[in-house]
């Protein structure tokens, strides 16, 4: 199972002023929305995609269709090169 990790070109942190998680890179910033921020918090190069899904379901038990959202976001993040897959 694929395990995503942050592309070292980016730095991920919470910004109080934006009230959001952001990705910082040379001279730029991407502001993530609430769910994207939750997913990115799980990306650490150790959790594989299934674990990320089950951990987020445990954290937000009521959320429906959450696995689809997670796959969609990770695809997007991969395409944008925010994340890489360890294997």
């Amino acid at each position: 199972m694929a395990t995503p990790k942050l592309n070292p070109l980016y730095k991920f942190q919470f910004e109080k002023a934006q009230d959001a998680f952001v990705l910082l890179y040379p001279e730029g910033m991407i502001t993530l929305n609430g769910s994207a921020g939750e997913i990115m918090q799980m990306v650490n190069g150790e959790r594989d995609v299934d674990t990320i899904i089950s951990d987020l379901i445990a954290k937000f038990p009521g959320a429906e269709g959450i696995d689809k959202d997670i796959h969609e976001f990770l695809d997007h993040a991969h395409e944008k090169k925010w994340i890489k897959y360890v294997d």
């Binding site: 070292p8 070109l9 730095k11 942190q13 910004e15 109080k16 002023a17 934006q18 952001v22 910082l24 890179y25 040379p26 001279e27 730029g28 910033m29």
Partner: protein
């Protein structure tokens, strides 16, 4: 003090702080954007003042921080400032010519938490690079620095300033960028501020040169693999018919602090006939929200005709105040780059004039003339 009340809640705080630590530089590029009148070393802000500025900017929500100059490596306290900024949670960018970036310093900066290094080149070969920067062996040093930047795992942005002298060799620039492994590469046609404005007639590429270069870059992009550098081509706005949205709007996003502590809404604003506040005398919060100069061109209410009634005003906010001032003598006017501006002919005249320079080409400080024939095809 402001002339009209600005509701604080509606004013965005700065996201970007550009800390120009010193104007001093081992190189003397004729296209340098530093002011022609440069602050002397003895009048530079001290370490404590800079730390205060960084803390206040971060408190306001700024997140991107550029250490720039001149050459910021000439400041011995750079590592201390980077460490402070990093602790505050800034994303720290070092914008450097690479001269003086030894392994010891690159390691020290990494330990201090520096996030990224932007390395500038004057050309893609030693002869021209060293001639344009007016320093022998600087190309060699830059190559060594690029290796170190990679070795110490920094994201690396390469910056090439393109002028009439070097733009035809864009192929070499693309090849060198790939060889060095830049993550992003800025191919920045020089913008005409500071020394570059003084030397504009020599530096402005012709439209044909520009089009060829841009086509070359576009063609190259199509052949690129996934892990190769991302090229960003910046055209000079002289050949455009709409101005750039300068600084994303006056005092909306960017804040520059110059070596002597002047706070500016853009790094070249010091040339304007306005009195700018100093960080030694006031807090950034007060400067940003209350200073006359910061409120002067904020928003759209101040716009002159024809911008006032133009449906594109939210796109470009009437363009660049410095360019309006340099070309028309009046900072309140529409940026003459816009072809709706009654002053647009000034841009056309500047382009025509650049075909036959009447002045000599000068290096930035000391004022030495450059043997132009050496760097022209």
């Amino acid at each position: 003090m402001s002339t009209k009340p600005v509701l604080k809640a509606y004013v965005n705080n700065p996201l970007w702080l550009l800390a120009e630590l010193t104007y001093d530089c081992p190189l003397h590029c004729p296209y340098c954007s530093n002011p022609v009148q440069m602050t002397e070393r003895k009048d530079e802000c001290d370490t404590e003042t800079w730390k205060k500025v960084l803390s206040e900017a971060r408190e306001m929500g700024a997140v991107q921080l550029g250490f720039s100059g001149g050459e910021p490596l000439l400041r011995k306290d750079l590592e201390v400032l980077v460490a402070h900024a990093s602790e505050l949670g800034f994303y720290t960018n070092l914008i450097t010519s690479g001269i003086g970036l030894t392994e010891k310093r690159i390691k020290g900066l990494k330990e201090a938490g520096l996030d990224h290094i932007q390395l500038s080149f004057q050309a893609a070969n030693a002869d021209e690079n060293d001639l344009i920067g007016n320093k022998r062996h600087s190309f060699e040093q830059k190559l060594a620095v690029a290796k170190l930047v990679k070795q110490y795992d920094y994201p690396m942005v390469l910056n090439f300033c393109l002028t009439r002298q070097n733009i035809d060799k864009i192929d070499d620039v693309l090849a060198l960028s790939c060889e060095l492994g830049g993550d992003f590469v800025e191919l920045a046609t020089v913008q005409y501020y500071g020394w570059a404005y003084l030397n504009r007639d020599h530096l402005l590429p012709t439209k044909a040169q520009l089009e060829t270069a841009e086509a070359t870059v576009n063609a190259f992009r199509n052949t690129q693999g996934d892990d190769e550098p991302k090229f960003i081509f910046v055209t000079p706005d002289y050949y455009e018919t709409r101005p750039k949205a300068c600084m994303n709007g006056w005092a909306t996003t960017f804040l520059t602090v110059t070596p002597d502590g002047s706070a500016l809404p853009c790094h070249s604003a010091k040339i304007l006939p306005l009195t700018f506040p100093n960080v030694k005398e006031s807090s950034l919060e007060k400067i940003w929200h209350e200073d006359f100069s910061f409120n002067k061109f904020r928003g759209l209410d101040w716009l002159p005709s024809p911008c006032r009634d133009c449906d594109e005003k939210e796109k470009d906010f009437g363009g660049c105040r410095c360019q309006a001032f340099m070309l028309t003598g009046d900072m309140h006017k529409t940026d003459p780059v816009c072809d709706k501006s009654p002053d647009h002919h000034l841009i056309q005249a500047a382009i025509a004039q650049s075909q036959q320079p009447t002045e000599n080409l000068f290096y930035r400080d000391p004022k030495t003339e450059i043997p132009v024939h050496l760097i022209q095809e």
